[in-house]
């Protein structure tokens, strides 16, 4: 029925409409604010169902358009899904005897959105004011009157940033070996794809949240999310929801022969 709804697909007209907008978003918070405004919903009472779905649509669209997705968008996607799941939990909390006033799972997000909105507006106010070089001009060249006068003293003026930039440039030239990044590439999407598929093997479905262990880092989260998107795109899994406020489940999809492209080796063994 309608309850078990997979993420909708997109028409081309939508794509061209969205791409223009995508450039405007400064990040996940900006996108969320846009969705809240677009749907004319109360920011203090965000209907997560709608907003999460539309948010994921954008992210998926970005991916389908082969736009690079900043990790932050994916982190937020998972956050939204987690909040959504948490909102189902009060019943369980009550069992443990807690009449404590549990904070609304959305509270933190709402605070961030409000704060972001405040600064976004402040930025707009600043930009709308009189800006030097745009609305007002000062003389930005040395007065000819002073040309022939040699300064007698030279107090120096320099910022820390200039000093460290100078140093960085030297380091760039001289020794690359010493300042290497610690391997951030430890988790690959391919690994996560294989992991998800093997965990789904022989099962009808599993909870989306169960893809994430108790402790996970950002890279893990991002890779996992991208893996799920990739699997959706390849029609190898289905993302379903039991009801509108229900948990999100992933389930193996029936693959039609010949319609699937291999995700560069990663899914190759899993396809069989």
């Amino acid at each position: 029925m309608s309850g078990g709804e997979t993420l909708p697909l997109y028409q081309d007209e939508d794509a061209s409409r969205y791409t223009v907008r995508l450039e405007v978003f400064e990040g996940p918070l900006d996108l969320l604010l846009h969705l809240i405004r677009k749907n004319e919903v109360d920011i203090y009472d965000i209907p997560l169902s709608i907003i999460t779905r539309e948010y994921l649509e954008y992210v998926k669209l970005m991916k389908e358009l082969n736009l690079e997705i900043a990790g932050e968008f994916l982190v937020m996607a998972s956050t939204l899904i987690q909040i959504k799941s948490k909102m189902l939990l009060p019943a369980i909390a009550d069992e443990e005897g807690g009449e404590e006033e549990e904070e609304d799972p959305r509270a933190e997000l709402v605070r961030r959105l409000l704060e972001y909105q405040t600064y976004k507006e402040a930025a707009a106010t600043l930009a709308a004011g009189e800006m030097l070089g745009r609305d007002t001009y000062a003389r930005k060249f040395a007065a000819t009157e002073l040309d022939e006068i040699q300064p007698e003293e030279e107090p120096v003026e320099v910022e820390m940033f200039e000093l460290i930039e100078a140093f960085r440039k030297i380091l760039d030239r001289v020794s690359e070996e010493s300042f290497h990044e610690v391997g951030a590439e430890s988790i690959t999407i391919a690994e996560r794809i294989n992991d998800i598929l093997s965990r789904l093997e022989g099962k009808e479905s599993m909870l989306f949240d169960d893809l994430f262990p108790e402790t996970f880092n950002r890279d893990y989260l991002v890779a996992t999310f991208l893996a799920v998107l990739e699997l959706c795109k390849l029609k190898m899994i289905k993302v379903v929801q039991a009801n509108r406020y229900g948990s999100i489940w992933i389930a193996p999809a029936v693959v039609e022969e010949g319609t699937v492209e291999s995700p560069e080796g990663a899914g190759a063994d899993a396809r069989a």
Binding site: M1, S2, G3, E26, G27, P28, L29, D30, V41, Y44, D45, P47, S49, I50, A70, G71, E72, M87, P90, E103, D104, A107, V110, R111, R112, L114, E115, Y116, T118, Y119, K120, A122, A123, A124, T125, L126, A127, G129, E130, M131, L132, G133, R134, D135, T136, Y137, A138, R139, A142, A143, E145, L146, E159, M160, F161, E165, N243, R244, Y245, G246
Partner: protein
């Protein structure tokens, strides 16, 4: 001997950044501070007319001659004057730093929700922000603040001159959310066609 007002006018005109009263007094030590102040006041009056093409602005803690905004369209015709352009991310970051300084990169990124390293670097290069030092918390992160150039760019006298932040409607405690423990299904059902009674 030239009059004080004339000298002050010349000094402000020639200086390459706003000149404060203190600086004027230091440069003109043979004059009384009150007289310098009076000269400034007289100049402000003189350059304050509606029809002036040059005005005496008070910015970044000092005084500077500038053109009035209403003439901007004509000045853009001068080829050399480039219009200042700011990306939205630069403006947002700048606003956060201006209002929250001293602020760390992590704080900025929490508020913006995105990595802000590149923007910070650009703003540092443009001298609109500077490194103020390190915060005395574990990890000793760098802290950032705005510069005099920032004030000059936005024509602000000082940081107190920043437009007041639109007040955030306070999340009215838990009561607000308690009332909504049972989420109104109507909202989502209405927006999404056929609702099915899940539970």
């Amino acid at each position: 001997m030239p009059g004080l007002k004339s000298v002050v006018e010349s000094l402000i005109f020639v200086a390459d950044s706003p000149v404060s009263l203190d600086r004027l007094c230091a440069l003109l030590e043979e004059f009384d501070r009150n007289d310098v102040r009076d000269a400034l006041a007289a100049l402000r009056e003189e350059y304050g007319g509606e029809e002036r093409g040059v005005v005496l602005a008070e910015v970044a803690g000092g005084f500077q001659f500038r053109t009035p905004a209403k003439n901007a369209d004509y000045l853009r015709r001068l080829t050399r004057t480039r219009t200042a352009k700011f990306s939205q991310s630069a403006l947002e970051t700048l606003a956060i730093i201006a209002y929250r300084q001293p602020v760390t990169r992590a704080e900025i990124e929490y508020l913006r929700g995105v990595d802000s390293g590149g923007v910070l670097k650009t703003l540092l290069e443009k001298k609109l922000i500077k490194i103020l030092g390190k915060k005395d918390i574990p990890g000793k992160p760098l802290i950032y603040g705005t510069t005099k150039e920032f004030l000059e760019l936005f024509g602000l006298k000082d940081l107190k001159g920043l437009p007041t932040l639109k007040e955030i409607r306070e999340l009215s405690e838990t009561t607000r959310f308690e009332q909504q423990e049972e989420l109104p299904l109507a909202v989502s059902a209405g927006a999404d066609s056929d609702g099915d009674g899940g539970d």
